[in-house]
Amino acid sequence: MAIEGSLGDLGNLNMIGYGLAAIGPGIGIGLIFAAYISGVARQPEAQSRLQSIAILGFALAEALAIIGIALAFVL
């Protein structure tokens, strides 16, 4: 539980930081798909156009979380 001085235990602090950093992309991905779902509900025929936009937005938001996990292991 306690974060000791050795380098090995600092990895756990990294993971806590990553958990905090993942909140933002998590909210972003939720908003993107919420907008996508309500867009399809209002206009089902627009689904194929909205889908690629939604997945692009998801990929961009997710990239932030991905960079976070890479840095959490590297730093």
């Binding site: 990239a63 991905i66 890479a70």
Partner: protein, 272 residues
Amino acid sequence: MSLVTGLVQAEFEPPSPADFDLPAVFGSGTFDFLGQAQVAGVTKPMIQIVLAAVFVFALFYLASRKRAMVPGKLQFAGEEAYGFVRNSLGRDIIGSHDFQRFVPYLFALFFFVLINNLMATIPVIQFPTFSRSGMVYSLALMSWVIYNAVGIQKHGFLGYLKLQSVPAGVGGVILLLLVPLEFMSNIIVRPVTLALRLFANMFAGHLLLILFALGGEYLVKEMGGAYIGVGVLAWVLFILVAMLEILIQFLQAYVFVLLNAMYIQGALADEH
């Protein structure tokens, strides 16, 4: 690091990136690369990446060999797969004018990435090829070369640089800020995020599965008593997360090719 010291007989070792360093299957010894010892020899991911290429080739060769008017099962599946990539990734993204010449590339890329990802779930193999970052860098480099070459071919070198770094409808002093930013994001950050996304998704997913499997084993075998129930719960979660992983493997293959198609479309786009 255990949470309750004193209760524990043997220390639990959490999985780490070191679990992805597999020993060589053929060949032995190490060589020095930038001060790090690297395995000299053929490793499991290398075999997998070749197997995937052979498998994709064999599958679609068999599916397209007969070319019957009334398709059999395999030919029908092959046609459906081709139609999916051609329509939803090629035509809808790149545009009906010049998507046709990119379809073979997108099609091969999608199934190559998909088969490599699915290897994380196939029994016996059970290792995602792209959880080794070097494997993905080569794919990202290839797509970087392709979309830049296509753009330069169409607009000329300076025209292409202008297209990628000067956003339309912006003028004046704000350009000083936007041009370096756009250049960075379109030319430099794109291949990096393309590679990192696929790599880190496969890496993190596999690490999560190792954690549930090893953690469950530790709870059942080392802790015993009431912890056995918790360990079994961890194994149930392992199965559920493995299901989620299959979904992610499809999604990441789709996103990888979708972004490839979007970058090609952006390079081909006329000035606004």
